[in-house]
Symmetry: C2
Amino acid sequence: MSLYKDHITIYDIARRAGVSAATVSRVVNNRANVSIATRQKVEKVIAEQHYEPNEIARTLHNRYSNTIGLLVQSLNNQFFVRICNEAEEACEKIGYTLLIGITNNNFQKESKLLHTFLKKQVDGFILLGGRANEYHPSRELIDEMDFISYQVPIVFINGGVGFHNCFSVKTDEAGAFDKIIQYLLSCGHRKIALITGQQHLWTTDEKIRVYKKNLKKQRLKVRDEWIVSGEYTMASGEQCMNRILSLKEPPTAVACTNDILAIGAMRAALYKGYNIPRDISITGFDDIFMAAEFVPTLTTMRQNYSRLAVQAVQTVVDYIAGKEVAREVTIDAELVIRESSATLPGAKPVVH
Amino acid sequence: MSLYKDHITIYDIARRAGVSAATVSRVVNNRANVSIATRQKVEKVIAEQHYEPNEIARTLHNRYSNTIGLLVQSLNNQFFVRICNEAEEACEKIGYTLLIGITNNNFQKESKLLHTFLKKQVDGFILLGGRANEYHPSRELIDEMDFISYQVPIVFINGGVGFHNCFSVKTDEAGAFDKIIQYLLSCGHRKIALITGQQHLWTTDEKIRVYKKNLKKQRLKVRDEWIVSGEYTMASGEQCMNRILSLKEPPTAVACTNDILAIGAMRAALYKGYNIPRDISITGFDDIFMAAEFVPTLTTMRQNYSRLAVQAVQTVVDYIAGKEVAREVTIDAELVIRESSATLPGAKPVVH
DNA sequence: TTGTATGCGTTATCAC
DNA sequence: GTGATAACGCATACAA
């Protein structure tokens, strides 16, 4: 490897400005104890030479890299993308760099990235999706998280149940799903089916629970064949919907546990010639961009992306600054009514 | 900031193993000149202590961080996301880390990220979208790129015209757009409109040129009102399409310069009650995931994401390894015929 | 206010 | 085959 990197260092500046490296450092870091004359002299040389401090050397000395590692399951789900965007912005605002790692829901890769980033001295982790969302994490996973969180803070977004030493920022998924199911009920729907992604994920199981609870409260029968679980992909949403549409007694509404599934479900219904929402209502969860772009547009719960991300970043930063930090923060979601859901005759919808 | 980081260092291992730090380093780096006995002894301690070398210190010494910075315009366009994914995978395979920065098409942010990453000692840059796509880059931009590329290699993906010191990996956009226009012509379409994003972008202007060239070759009139330019958003695609549909003499086909625009165009047509492709054919460019997910699915040109990304990463790595590297690499795209385009009576489509 | 010396964790050079 | 030492670029404690 040819060594062609040849950077200007603090010593070059010092020599040219006729001062010591320490003084240059003071100027660069805006320390008070530098005379105006010296400061100006040094600043002039810095500008002339386009000097930029070496962050690697800084990190080695300071022990802090001003970098946060964000491990995300996939960037194919716009939900994750929006969180990344917001987190990146939040980081930039406070002079941090966000290191994004894509795990592809591959446990090994997730583990590898965790260590790679740790070796790069990230100051903390934000975990989004992936195995941390398991409802019942394995002993091995817990051990790994303990190993990491012993060194730097870990913040989960919408996940991380059962990791005692970590932090968690999450949408009030139960409350949010409650809202949308109650909305469908208030629209007069009595035959409501449920399409979910993988079970045993925190975000899935909570919603199934809320769905059942609401039906029971309305004294409606919970039918097993109306609860169809696949995985969180559009193709799976289609398959689940096809299953539902082929039932002897199809429902009038289908609630999906995320938007990707809902859009898959809409595709399936559209292909079979159904009119949405006239023939069947469909709802999602997340409010990804596509929810407003598909035809018809999707009724869904909007997660507060910005607050989720900002809170996660802030938690890392506050923690390493030694501040007192809440172990768990819950954030509300908002019902967004669009074209994919209809009100049945005689009903008057209630929005909470 | 409380200093709670307290890592195990090579000296800790050395002390515990009863050897010198130099020897531990040799073991860690798999150097040959270490006796088997010593090696095993050291490895045992490393495993026991869960020692992981500090990459920051390594980078400071080696001058190489094994990190590549990827500046991307946005992660909301799935095209960019796929490139990021592929690049990240390519990096991981060769022990590199990909540092993703999101510029939001904000020139200032792009510039800032460039310097931030440089200070973090990235070994090279990959630039995806953003101002580098300008057909005629400003003097100021060229100067900035020169400043950077003097220090580390810069590789543009689908852009970077006019930066003499940089590298470029690009889809053969002209050839690819040629294919899809010729396909539409071979389907019998004679009235073909064009929807584009911002002009003065390399990727836009090339396609306009190819569009005009093909019409002229067929002795078809190039009508100004059939060339509608907006920006690369779905909403803009809708607006452009509405403009086209309100013409006295609407076309039978609309070619769009990317998939996002095409999906916007389809939305607009669907809302007005048009049947696609019976009433009007629509084509895109890129083959993002949504192209296969929208109803109807979109006929488009598939860019070779994997090759684009792998080639870009390889270019950086080869260059810093001192190898001879091609300044420009062009990669073919592939026509993907789906539901959104129809063949007019009597025509027989030709696929190149 | 400024300079000197030292350490951050690692690797390379040079002895032994 | 192994160890001592210097250097990477920066920032701080301490001295002046």
